[in-house]
């Protein structure tokens, strides 16, 4: 039946029998109507759809949120236009972005604002990837993957007008490591409070902190300007690569002789060795070591972990350097603002559509094919999925060079962490803390020595989750009232270590529950009555993270941040500039430089490269902030 024969107006009921034969899902975009085949997608309402409910024999249309009003008249006219001639013509998008994670959306925003017609495809019914807020129990919102915000580049927030689209980040003031003897070591924002707190444990270490902070700051200052630049290809003799290498060399030469030596050591040494050079107290070392192992399948005593720490120091909240905060409304607020910015500039997002593979013709990407067989044409494809998913699942092997495939297979993206999200009936108490302590509003930990962390890693190596895991626990509702009903709280626990397989076998639900129990019992040791406060709990092992978020092995960084996988080696030497062996297929996820965290830099840098290939301007992209 011809679709134009239907009179569609908002709010009318259509008999299902009539609809079945026609194209039932449509989206309005820039005065065009695009037609998409009949499928299950109808019953997956999302913010872009005009269809919000499906009954046995009717689809209910309600008002929708497009930036123009559509009428039945307009709708049918357009359809006629499209269908004149030999059937309907498929629209070819300027760019198709696979995955509505923060990097995918950042990328899509920049491309759309450059005048491209961009489609973002998201397999889940919701957007956000690992930066998402989910309501899994009534009244509560979970930041159920990433949970704190600091690294997101302010240049991107500005370019994409994210504050205008609702993004607000609230920085928190403290944090602590609980010690097994009933005390705690807090981190305070005030320099002197911080020193006095450390002096409770060691006056020497308290004063050593300044030297530590100076050295870490020096390393950050070296790395930070590289975040928003495409890494140079050292094998290339193109002028821009040479000039980029010279920039790097010049920056390196700008370091003193001692700092140069320090830099090389810093990039290769273990966080434990690094901290031993400054501190002597277990709990103080544990306090800093945690930043070196988060999201990494390495122990604090493994070489290369010092750099991971650096990665976590380069953030800021609204200009407050090094600060961490909560996105108001959960981490989904970041991607929600990005999506709003994207749509306001005319971009299209489709949720609930899983890409089966990238359509490659004559070595170039021409679009994607969805799992249900629908083909979407695009002049280029940008993958926000990790490098393994992109090239081992979405592209046929025959399209890729052998050595590239081997490198992708060997790219380290090991599952090392899990996540437990908890809805609490009331605020948990930690008797070790004074009642008015700002620590309640910050990040809390229970691992008070580097050795305990390393033992946790030993369990992981044996294929088990840590019996005594390392937790990064926050209660965002202490500062953000929007995530839980009044008086109730949302608690997020990042848990390390957690293996991708349990002793070589796939995770079972029983394993997952036992893993959750390990976490709860650790918290309960420090917080009497904790169990009784639990209303609802979501336990996510690498199995769930991979299945839902699409992160291979649940690796939060889409590949570990060790020096062998950074800069021009990320993700694959020779392909570190967001391009791939397939023409028109780009990468924009955390697998690419500068790596993971809710930073947005990979998405932005990839957009810059794409626009360069299209000879389009990048005036809408702010240059990286000065580091002087």
């Amino acid at each position: 039946m011809h679709p134009a024969g239907l009179q569609l107006t908002p709010g009318i009921f259509l008999p299902m029998s009539e609809v079945k034969a026609v194209i039932v899902k449509f989206a309005l975009h820039r005065f065009q109507v695009r037609m998409i085949s009949v499928s299950v997608k109808v019953h997956r309402p999302n913010s872009r759809s005009t269809i919000t409910q499906v009954t046995q024999n009717a689809i209910i249309f309600v008002e929708h949120s497009f930036n123009m009003h559509w009428t039945s008249h307009y709708f049918s006219c357009e359809l006629w236009g499209k269908n004149s001639g030999n059937g309907y013509r498929m629209k070819s998008w300027d760019a198709i972005v696979i995955g509505a994670g923060h990097n995918g959306l950042v990328n899509a925003c920049y491309l759309q604002r450059a005048g491209l017609d961009v489609l973002v495809l998201e397999k889940n019914d919701w957007i956000g990837g690992a930066a998402t807020s989910r309501s899994l129990t009534p009244g509560f919102l979970y930041s159920n993957c990433s949970y704190v915000c600091s690294l997101f580049r302010p240049e991107i927030m500005r370019d994409l007008e994210l504050p205008r689209f609702g993004l607000q980040v609230i920085s928190y003031e403290g944090g602590a490591v609980f010690t097994q003897d009933g005390d705690y070591l807090a981190n305070y924002r005030d320099h002197h409070a911080h020193r006095r707190e450390f002096a409770r444990f060691s006056p020497r270490d308290a004063e050593a902190y300044d030297r530590y902070a100076r050295d870490v700051t020096r390393q950050c200052r070296f790395i930070q300007p590289l975040l928003m630049r495409t890494a140079a290809d050292p094998t290339s003799f193109r002028p821009r690569d040479i000039s980029e290498l010279m920039y790097l060399g010049k920056k390196f030469a700008g370091l003193g002789a001692t700092e140069m030596a320090d830099t090389l050591r810093f990039w290769t040494m273990s966080i434990s060795d690094f901290l031993d050079e400054y501190f002597e107290t277990d709990v103080i070392k544990a306090n800093f070591a945690l930043s070196g192992i988060i999201g990494t399948a390495l122990g604090p005593m493994s070489p290369g972990t010092a750099y991971v720490l650096l990665h976590h120091y380069m953030g800021e909240v609204d200009g407050s350097v090094g600060a961490w905060g909560y996105a108001r409304g959960g981490m989904g607020a970041v991607t929600k603002a990005l999506a709003a910015s994207f749509e306001a500039s005319g971009g299209t997002i489709r949720t609930g559509v899983e890409v089966d593979h990238v359509l490659v013709k004559n070595g170039s990407a021409k679009g994607v094919v969805l799992v249900d067989g629908e083909e979407i044409q695009g002049k280029m494809v940008v993958s926000n999925a990790d490098v393994k998913r992109t090239f081992l699942k979405l592209v046929e092997e025959k399209e890729l060079p052998d050595i590239f495939l081997r490198r992708v297979r060997n790219f380290k993206m090991r599952g090392s962490s899990g996540k437990v999200n908890i809805a609490l009936d009331s605020m948990p108490e930690f008797p070790a803390l004074p009642k008015d302590s700002p620590v309640y509003r910050g990040d809390m930990h229970f691992t008070d020595s580097v050795e305990r962390m390393e033992r946790g890693y030993d369990d992981w190596k044996a294929g088990r989750w840590s019996a005594d895991p390392f937790l990064d626990m926050v209660i965002p509702t202490t500062l953000d009232p929007t995530m839980a009903p009044p008086g109730k709280h949302f608690m997020s626990c990042f848990v390390q270590y957690c293996p991708p397989k349990v002793e070589g076998k796939e995770w079972t639900d029983a394993d997952r529950d036992a893993f959750g129990e390990t976490v709860i019992s650790q918290i309960a040791d420090y917080s009497p009555g904790f169990r009784d406060r639990i209303i609802h709990m979501e336990v996510r092992t690498p199995r769930e993270l991979e299945a839902e978020v699409g992160l291979t092995e649940g690796n939060i960084f889409q590949g570990e941040l060790t020096f062998d996988q950074l800069l021009f080696n990320r993700p694959v030497p020779g392909y570190a500039q967001y391009r791939s062996p397939v023409g028109g297929l780009y990468m924009c996820g955390s697998s690419t430089h500068p790596g993971g965290g809710v930073m947005g830099a990979p998405g932005r840098n990839a957009a810059a490269e794409i626009l360069r290939d299209l000879s389009r301007g990048t005036k809408h992209m702010s240059p990286a902030h000065d580091v002087i």
Binding site: D181, G182, A193, R195, E207, D210, R214, P434
Partner: protein, 411 residues
């Protein structure tokens, strides 16, 4: 923390958990200072709530120069260094020859890291042959402890437990004498002695940061208030005033004295590799004793001196006119940028426009002529740009005979 019993250790730690509620702590003299405070202008001195001014910055300055001024120096970082090897240890750490520092004497010194970059300057008090007190702007416990390896020496930070006052100005001696510190007249400049107070000891040294006649008093913090009161009672007739840092800062600049992390950046805080300074680059070369046994930074200093590795020089400038040149850029021949003014005032004592500046050698060193400073004076929302001639002059900018006169004069 010297407890070996873990329970006691925990109790000691837990007892100090509450500090987070008062990030700016009170000095032992706080009740007296709060009582006199009118302007409510405070600043953060090493984590203490310290007065920037109490009632009138300018009048407070004149109290230093023509009356007597009481300035709380309790927040100054203080280390007690004692033991059989204390002298040898300090001789190794600091630039001057500590063997020449007799018990009962004080000297102004500085210390460097192995690259010869200045970690801080400060005063070293030799209380007895094997007991010292080191006072400084910044904190150095890890550096001192690490340097102490192999020496039989005990290093304890005593900033909180020792209260200290600077009593400065022409009438300062008279105040001490009237307060009954008999024998204080015998103290020559840089002498120290113990005096009785409330059955305990107060250490009084003839030292200060003003270039004027003056003394510094160190006492156990529990005696702080009674010491203050003892001085205050007799001070009334001598015009004794409590002052804040703003007034002191003027006086110290007239005296040509430098402040760490204000006139130079200390090595442990310098993030940018080129900001560190050797003693010769900040006017502290005179301290270096190449004849004494090895000290930290010696080799690097020697090499820099031999190979032209000294890139900067800190100089005193006299600038024409009367507009202070704070943070002005210094030029040679009005064109070439050669440095920066770190502190500047119009000096009421010298009646001149004075400044401290860091210049790039050879300017300020062998080339001292044709120097200019560009002053941006903000006046009613407009910069009045002035290019003024500057000349290098010796420090201190003022020299007061009363500072060193013996016996000290009774004003």
């Amino acid at each position: 923390m010297k407890h070996s019993d873990p329970k006691k250790l925990l109790m000691a730690r837990a007892a100090s958990q509450d500090h987070f509620r008062t990030p700016r702590i009170a000095s032992p003299f706080q009740p007296r200072i709060e009582a006199l405070m009118q302007t409510e202008e405070w600043y953060d001195w090493a984590g203490y709530k310290a007065p920037l001014s109490l009632w009138d910055e300018e009048l407070e300055y004149f109290a230093i120069r023509s009356q007597a001024a009481l300035f709380d120096i309790s927040p100054m970082v203080k280390y007690r260094i004692e033991g059989p090897d204390a002298e040898a240890f300090l001789n190794r750490v600091t630039l001057r020859d500590v063997r020449k520092l007799k018990p009962g004497r004080v000297h102004y010194t500085a210390w460097c890291n192995d690259e010869g970059h200045v970690l801080d300057d400060g005063t070293l008090f030799r209380l007895t042959s094997d007991r010292f007190r080191l006072c400084s702007q910044e904190r150095h416990l890890p550096w001192l402890l690490d340097s102490g390896i192999g020496f039989d020496v005990n290093i304890i930070e005593e900033t909180k437990s020792i209260a200290a006052l600077a009593l400065q100005g022409p009438a300062s001696f008279a105040v001490l004498r009237d307060a009954g510190f008999n024998g204080v007249d015998a103290l020559k400049i840089f002498d120290l002695a113990e005096f009785e107070h409330d059955g305990e000891n107060v250490t009084i040294s003839r030292t200060g940061f003003t270039g004027d006649l003056g003394y510094e008093l160190f006492v156990d913090q529990k005696l702080a208030l009674s010491l203050w009161d003892r001085l205050w009672q007799v001070g009334e007739q001598r015009g004794l005033r409590a002052i804040g840092y703003a007034a002191l800062n003027r006086a110290r600049l007239e005296a040509g004295l430098i402040v760490a992390n204000s006139d130079f950046i200390t090595a442990e805080h310098a993030i940018r590799a080129d900001r560190v300074r050797m003693p010769d680059e900040i006017g502290l070369g005179f301290m270096i004793d190449m004849e004494k046994p090895h000290f930290n930074g010696r080799r690097a200093i020697q090499q820099a001196r031999a190979n032209g590795g000294l890139r900067h020089v800190l100089v005193g400038l006299e600038i024409e006119g009367n507009i202070p040149a704070e943070h002005a850029i210094v030029y040679h021949q009005g064109k070439r940028e050669i440095g920066l003014v770190s502190a500047a005032i119009w000096s009421p004592m010298a009646k001149r426009n004075i400044a401290l500046a860091s210049l790039e050698r050879p300017y300020g060193d062998t080339i001292t002529g044709d120097l200019w400073v560009e002053i941006y004076a903000m006046r009613e929302l407009r910069y009045q740009k002035l290019m003024k001639r500057a000349k290098v002059v010796p420090r201190p900018f003022i020299k007061l005979d009363r500072r060193t006169a013996n016996p000290p004069a009774d004003f």
